[in-house]
Symmetry: C2
Subunit: 406 residues, 2 copies
């Protein structure tokens, strides 16, 4: 039996980022970039007007007023044809390229257009025109060749905008790991079915699929595997085609707990079995090195709460590593116990709990938990209070670390 | 011109939750439940063994040791056939139903099986057997008819487990709103294309699609609309088939800023145009009441940073409301200015900024921002520092509210 931290180290040593692949940029938010992305353009690509108005030569406005000949009108998407010289101006719209010669934009509110026949002039009254005003110079925000996004970055929606701006409609990213989920046990029936005597519905499979999806994986539901070697072997083979295989059930010491044997027969090398942890002690972990993606195989205990705790402690960090994320700290907060708590102190215990703020303090209240099958209580929890081993009683007000639930 | 908070109120008044629909439970995490979900079973459905061992009558163990006749073996999925009477025991596995008569489970480690011919007996040594031990009584975690999840709940992965447990493979939820995204402007070319003179690539469209997806919507990319009434009208009609239509560009006062006119010709009733905000002043909002889903229409300014700010302030809360979420507070934190900041003080300003922790204090550092087209700077930001209007200078150490970016 090993400690939680040692178990996690053994897992992460074997959880290399999956081979990068090109993806359409719209599908990349949340994924980790596997290349440096450089700009192929200057941005803005030209000196750009930031306001609607007139492109002028600032020196023409020294007197505070001027009447200038209007050369042309330039909108975003146009190219100016005329050069602005002293005594002239070009009507310009926000986003349009500045005409050569002009060095300032006077906003439309300061101008009055006078049309007479074919000729137009603009009367401008503005005694504070400065060269450069209302212009964004070429390459201000990026220059051709600049790296705009570095490998290792977790991509956000704004990065989709940036990649589009620099001409990328695909990017090299670490793909989401695929996660096969197999719930095992003769007692399980699908949720559509009313359980008969001695049967329970399969809640683990759908829950683990949802957890895998939310944790950045892509779940592949293998359904229910009965406690039968041939059937389990067939389903395990299927699961080993994915990056991760998560099983629930069948890892205790019961006569029908076939999972470790079936996995080893399928070539999965055991790394550890049993962790100093409550709930979740029977946790099994191995790697199938012969399979194409070096599938990581997690045998989680069959009880839903144990399954969830083991998923949070072990599978979630592994999925993050496979997706190219740097190993991070677990999302924990320190809180004060809202009421005294007693436990059997032989293993570190992860107890469903509610975190709440009270007069500026974070309190944690362990829920009245009916053992490791009690999903409805877990649904009310927003964290797992981590009680260390070796102590039976914890006092109200004691500081306790709490692992946040998603 | 109206204030940000008034603008948001006008939007939320018109953002009713979309009609609920049935979805497979695996697709519900992140969505809001639109019905109470009750259990159709007791859980556990029977008194359940929590350990591998022997089901016994606790009173038989008063002496600390006993030798009991083994009646049968019951595993998870089985139904016990024999009644345990004094002097007998049933071999039982974790998760299996307790046989009638027995009231405790003794763990396997305390037992020794003695087989002789057809008969088996078990020798047990345990001086602390209590009635009820290692048994989870029927209906401990839920009782038939109990509401396990209430309407209005934001569903999490664990709820998928619970719904599966109570026989639900579908649930009534508020569906994700669909969000049509249309970038407008003659200057725009798709990201695959090298922009010619006076052109820029469309970064807004892909960015807004990614934002809509991450904010709980389903984006429908309508591509680029040129500044042409007939083309815009056609694309707007397409957009009005979705719950939300987000346009970028074309809402300033330029001659080609056709969007408000085209929208009104399409029957979209204007609610407001222009917000006291920087960047983002030209923001337009209306509703198309004749269309089936009462489409909310947002005309965002064409500059990417303005677009993003307006999305965060207005579109994101609207999408949450359409998806059935209760209006929440914006995700803001208070931080101290890491360096002095100056601005033009005519409108409240949302400035790209980096939040960081320094000796236990949260600091906010406004980035060196090159105007509202500067996406690369925005990519480094993790928040928008909110500088109130009417002041030009802010001192180092001043408390500033910061809107968190996703």
């Amino acid at each position: 039996m090993i400690d939680v931290s040692d178990a996690l180290s053994l897992i992460l040593e074997r959880a290399d980022a999956r081979p990068p692949a090109m993806k359409p940029v719209g599908q990349t938010p949340g994924l980790v970039l596997a290349e440096d992305v450089a700009s192929d353009i200057d941005s803005p690509p030209y000196d750009k007007a930031l306001m609607d108005g007139y492109a002028v030569i600032a020196a023409d406005m020294r007197g505070g007023t001027a009447e200038l000949q209007v050369l042309e009108e330039v909108v975003a998407g146009d190219t100016p044809r005329e050069v602005v010289v002293s005594g002239t101006a070009t009507r310009i719209m926000t986003g349009a390229p500045m005409p050569d010669g002009a060095d300032a934009v006077v906003i439309i509110e300061r101008t009055e257009l006078i049309e007479s026949g074919d000729a137009s002039t603009v009367r401008i009254s503005d005694d504070a025109v400065e060269a450069g005003q209302n212009i964004l110079p070429q390459a201000t925000s990026l220059r051709k060749g600049d790296v705009v996004l570095r490998a290792g970055r977790r991509l956000a929606a704004v990065d989709v905008g940036i990649m589009s701006e620099v001409g990328r409609h695909e990017a090299l990213v670490y793909p989401q790991p695929t996660v096969a989920v197999l719930a095992t046990g003769n007692e399980l029936v699908p949720s559509e079915q009313m359980p008969g005597p001695g049967q329970i519905r399969n809640s683990n499979g759908p829950m683990l699929c949802a957890l895998a999806d939310k944790a950045g994986g892509t779940a592949v539901d293998l359904g229910i595997g009965r406690d039968d070697e041939a059937e389990l072997s067939r389903l395990v083979q299927q699961g080993l085609e994915e990056d991760v295989l998560v099983l629930s059930g069948g890892v205790s010491a019961g006569v029908l707990d076939l999972v470790p044997k079936v996995l080893q027969d399928a070539g999965v090398e055991p790394v550890f079995h049993k962790v100093r942890l409550k709930p979740g002690k029977p946790m099994w972990f191995g790697v199938a090195p012969g399979t194409a993606p070096n599938t990581l195989v997690f045998g989680l205990p069959g009880n839903p709460v144990s399954s969830l705790v083991c998923f949070e402690l072990f599978v979630r960090p592994a999925l993050a590593a496979l997706a190219g994320h740097q190993p991070g700290k677990q999302p924990t907060v320190e809180a004060r116990l809202a009421r005294p708590h007693r436990q059997r102190g032989d293993r570190p215990t992860y107890f469903p709990a509610v975190l709440r703020e009270d007069s500026g303090e974070t309190l944690v209240e362990p829920l009245d938990w009916h053992g490791s099958a009690d999903l409805p209580t877990l649904a009310r929890a927003n964290g797992l209070a981590m009680f260390p081993a070796g102590r039976l009683g914890f006092e109200q007000g004691e500081p306790i670390s709490v692992l946040l639930l998603d």
